[in-house]
């Protein structure tokens, strides 16, 4: 049986909730394991994720068919690699609509790709009602809500150092 490769889709309907941070953490974590890796930054306005890993993460605009082809066809073609997608909040609905329409989930399964949707949770009521907007994909067993806990804000470098010493 062929080894399964992972596809992580980091998504949220809202900006500034920590999508790119989580995507970066995933990339860093996967890099340590030494597995073949690729990432896609789907935020055409602010491709921060791609900027962090210039040779590993590619900016893609899925607003048009050409962009959709360069994303989904490449994921399926590179099915031996672990893939991390940072899904910009503005393309949330479109991404899942296209994914459902082209039958990506089924094809991915056939190519031993295991998709995992990491949905960043927040307090907005709309987040709890994601199901209809993403074609039911978010409610599938492979979706996983993630809560980003705020980092403690440090008042000064000294308090930061003290905290580090205490936590070591």
């Amino acid at each position: 049986m062929p080894q399964q490769s992972q596809l992580y889709i980091v998504a949220s309907r809202h900006p500034r909730v920590g999508k790119t941070l989580l995507a970066r953490l995933l990339i860093e974590f996967q890099r340590i394991s030494g597995r073949p890796l690729v990432g896609y930054d789907l935020d055409p306005r602010e491709p921060t994720f791609a900027g962090c890993f210039p040779n590993l993460v590619w900016p893609v605009d899925i607003a048009d068919t050409r962009g959709q082809m360069s994303l989904f066809d490449r994921i399926l073609g590179d099915h031996w690699r672990t893939t991390v997608i940072d899904l910009g909040y503005g393309l949330f609905d479109q991404f899942f609509k296209v994914m459902a329409e082209i039958g990506f989930e089924e094809e991915a399964r056939q190519r031993s790709i295991q998709p995992t949707v990491l949905i960043i949770t927040d307090s907005a009521p709309v987040t709890a009602q994601l199901t209809p907007s993403c074609g039911g994909v978010c409610n599938r067993p492979f979706s996983c809500p993630c809560t980003m806990k705020p980092l403690r804000s440090w008042s000064s470098p000294r308090t930061f150092r003290r905290h580090r010493q205490n936590t070591r």
Partner: protein
């Protein structure tokens, strides 16, 4: 034995999607194992033939010899259904010819099943064709096909105009062909294969091709929607072949449906014996997804 059936796909106006609709029909019948042959009246080169080489031949609908090739062989051919893709401008002359040779009379007597797919464009000229065609389709199954492939809206924004055309014929049934992604459409054009073959990622020689998965996905989704329209109007029921295929399919669906329900309930029971109530919500979601997929 099933009655011979003739499907005329046409319009006097050009560029409204006649061949596209004819292609979806041929794919539909192929998928439902209905023996079908097709005639492409785009003489001499042919358009439909480029996609469906095996089942179609190019004819000149204005030539008596070719009219004989289509009509006189209806009852002797192995094909249950004959599809004629009538080229632009030939719809009215073809209907006149069918009346003159007594074909429409045979339809009236119930000897032949006659189906007309009238493809409509968004222009008034195209809609005016409905009135011109009506006298010839009284005994036919008449489908008005709104082809949204070029994003038209058929004057739906003006209810009076829309109603004046579409509500006039009480027996006419409207079929809507949704829009297909432009790139996907062009890629199938380039490939010159039936939509079904494209979806299956095969080339004209039935060898594995390298079409984009995204484009194939768009075509599959679109074709599914078109076929849903054909199912809605019970197209297969119009032909004798449908009497064999449809109940068999219905029977299979019923068996699969009850099997799926049993399996789902077996999962419910297994779940409750294996886990506690705290996982109920998680299970409810996965059960819903699985059962809707089965359905």
């Amino acid at each position: 034995m099933a009655k011979p059936a003739l499907i005329l796909v046409g319009a006097d106006k050009g560029g409204v999607g006649k061949t596209t609709v004819a292609r979806t029909l041929l794919d539909y019948f192929t998928a439902h194992h209905v023996p079908t042959r097709a005639f492409d009246t785009e003489t001499p080169k042919g358009t439909l033939k480029r996609f469906h080489r095996d089942v179609s031949e190019v004819v000149d609908a204005t030539a008596v010899a070719d009219q004989m090739r289509i009509i006189d062989t209806l009852s002797t051919t192995d094909a249950t259904v004959t599809v004629v893709d009538v080229r632009a401008g030939l719809m009215s002359p073809t209907l006149h010819a069918l009346r003159d040779i007594g074909f429409l009379e045979a339809v009236k007597k119930g000897q032949i099943t006659f189906v007309v797919f009238h493809i409509l464009g968004s222009s008034i000229a195209s809609l005016n064709e409905i009135e011109e065609t009506a006298p010839f389709t009284a005994d036919a199954e008449y489908f008005l096909v709104k082809n949204f492939i070029n994003n038209t809206n058929f004057f739906e924004w003006d209810q009076a105009t829309h109603a004046s055309y579409f509500k006039k014929l009480k027996d006419a049934v409207v079929i809507e062909i949704p829009k297909l992604n432009e790139m996907a459409y062009e890629q199938v054009e380039l490939a010159s294969v039936p939509f079904l073959t494209f979806v299956a990622n095969k080339d004209g020689k039935n060898e594995t091709a390298n079409y984009s998965f995204v484009l194939r996905g768009y075509v599959r989704h679109w074709l599914g929607n078109v076929w849903a329209e054909y199912d809605r109007v019970k197209l297969l029921d119009l032909f004798g072949a449908a009497a064999e295929t449809t109940p068999a399919r219905a029977g299979r669906r019923q068996i699969l449906g009850s099997l799926a329900t049993s399996l789902a309930w077996f999962r419910v029971e297994s779940f409750f014996t294996a886990s506690g109530e705290s996982d109920l919500e998680k299970f409810a979601i996965s059960f819903y997804c699985r059962s809707s997929r089965i359905g």
